[in-house]
């Protein structure tokens, strides 16, 4: 085994269990993997911008416009809604929808079109988590700037708003990815993801606060991960106290679930990618 590590060429073993690489120079291989992860992220965001003139700015504008639409609808229907409160809720729901969709879709090609050489799974995992980081950042950016410029929200609160968005992204992305084999074996489940996103939009305290819910609706939302991001963000930005309805024990359990989901996601990613490489 020691002799193998001293060799000057890469060794690869491909079996039904996996594709196992032993690079000749592991330091260089890691450097290449980080470059490839950055490339995949760059290509993904350039692809999202497409030919639109405002490019990636649309990622920031999307929750802003959607927030404005719902703010308008809700002020007409209910005659009272705090716009900042709605903006916070809508941003997190858009992040949830985006993350769940990304996690649940096992793409035939994760590699950004790098076809000449097999891209190692660790590079793909790194790129997926970087995409989450930038996605949540851009989605919080537009509204964050408005908070700072118009509603006099502090920088620290705006950063907290993004960090809670990042947690939301990773939670739902990891959950989606752990369940993603279902999307290949039973493709009919794919639309359920968007139905679930819509359910979360109206069912979670996004367009209203937690204190406005009652009965079974309240009970469910006391365990809903979205509540644990939306209400603390509202508390930090608006000074609301709805977060006090939430239990700290449940928050710990949800954090534990998040950690477990992310670990399972990282450990199983290669298996899922490998298993479905011959499915179409």
């Amino acid at each position: 085994m020691t002799k193998v590590m001293m060799m000057h060429k890469d060794y690869r073993s491909i079996t039904p269990e996996g594709c196992f690489d032993r690079p000749a120079d592991s330091k260089e291989a890691w450097s290449l993997d980080t470059k490839r992860a950055r490339f995949i992220v760059k290509k993904k965001f350039r692809g999202l911008a497409g030919s639109r003139r405002l490019g990636q700015l649309w990622l920031a504008l999307d929750p802003l416009f959607l927030g404005l639409v719902y703010y308008f609808v809700f002020t007409v229907i209910r005659h009272k809604t705090d716009p900042v409160s709605v903006f916070i809720g809508i941003t997190y729901i858009r992040i949830l929808q985006n993350a769940l969709k990304s996690g649940y879709s096992v793409m035939p090609d994760f590699t950004g079109g790098l076809k000449i050489e097999r891209v190692r799974t660790r590079a793909v995992i790194l790129s997926e988590y970087l995409i989450g980081l930038f996605n949540s950042f851009f989605m919080c950016l537009g509204i964050g700037i408005i908070f700072i410029l118009i509603f006099n929200v502090g920088i620290v609160e705006a950063v907290l708003f993004w960090l809670l968005g990042l947690l939301t992204y990773y939670f739902w992305y990891a959950l989606g990815n752990v369940l993603s084999p279902l999307s290949i074996i039973v493709p009919d489940t794919k639309p359920i993801v968007s139905y679930f996103g819509t359910l979360m939009l109206f069912g979670s305290p996004a367009l209203y606060t937690l204190s406005e819910t009652s009965g079974i609706h309240r009970t469910i939302n006391l365990y809903n991960p979205v509540s644990f991001c939306v209400e603390p963000a509202r508390a930090a930005i608006l000074g609301t106290t709805d977060y006090k309805l939430l239990s700290i024990e449940v928050a710990y359990v949800l954090l534990l679930i998040l950690s477990i989901l992310v670990i399972i996601n990282i450990l199983r990613f290669d298996k899922i990618r490998w298993r479905f490489s011959t499915w179409s």
Binding site: R12, I14, F39, R46, K115, W274, T278, S280
Partner: protein
């Protein structure tokens, strides 16, 4: 351990051992029927070894399993049974797009991709010049890749790919690109590229190309090896079949 010992002795660059590959897809029989899982075996019990420096042609009719075999050796798809071992940096050349980004210029693409494919900093300048000179795109080289015609885009992809230096090269029917005037140049470049590859597995329908470049031929039929030996014999077995 046994495999690693063989590797260390440098006895093979590629070893394929009892390889079988099955594809799974969904198939609907009628408009109102439910989709069913359909399994198709593309490769069955294939075994062979390629020694370092060998140039081997994989020949066979359409659907024989040539592309699937190359994808498996490149580590792109999962075998159902068996094992593939490779010793060296494996490049799969299939099609003429190594991952180019559509809204970047050809120049920017070559720069970013050369780093992604492991071209060292000190070699990057020469590498970029080689690709640019080969493409002969003039001012179009600084235009967005999406605005180039298919032929021009193909030049960039082909020029980039064939400027890399592989240790094991898996080549899948990629020798024709661009217009007639450019084709000869492309063929010459492909020859140089193949010359740089230490070990080559070439999947092709061009029997002349196989005879000119390869010393050994593996004939596939319905996913099985029906002949493995000297190239002229492999070609005549294929023609007789």
């Amino acid at each position: 351990m046994e495999v690693l010992d063989v590797v260390m002795n440098g006895e093979f660059a590629i070893r394929v051992d009892n390889l079988s590959i099955e594809y799974t897809s969904f198939q609907k029989k009628g408009l109102l029927s439910f989709a069913r899982t359909n399994r198709f075996r593309a490769i069955s019990g294939v075994s062979f070894e390629v020694t370092p420096g060998e140039v081997v042609a994989i020949i066979g009719e359409n659907g024989a399993g040539k592309t699937t075999l190359l994808k498996a050796i490149g580590g792109h798809i999962r075998p159902s049974v068996g094992e593939v071992s490779t010793f060296g940096k494996v490049y799969t050349l299939s099609g003429a797009n190594p991952g180019l980004i559509s809204d970047m210029t050809a120049r920017e693409n070559v720069r970013i991709l050369s780093s992604v494919y492991g071209i060292r900093d000190e070699q990057r300048g020469a590498f970029e010049r080689e690709v640019e000179e080969f493409c002969e795109l003039g001012e179009a080289y600084d235009r967005s890749y999406s605005t180039l015609s298919t032929g021009m885009g193909g030049r960039v992809g082909f020029g980039f790919t064939t400027s890399l230096t592989p240790e094991i090269l898996l080549m899948d029917e990629t020798l024709g690109v661009g217009d007639e005037a450019f084709r000869k140049k492309a063929e010459k470049k492909a020859e140089e590229f193949m010359g740089r590859g230490e070990t080559i597995l070439l999947s092709t329908h061009s029997l002349n190309l196989a005879k000119n470049f390869c010393s050994r031929g593996i004939l596939l039929k319905s996913g099985r090896v029906v002949f493995d030996g000297e190239i002229s014999e492999a070609v005549s077995t294929y023609l007789n079949n």
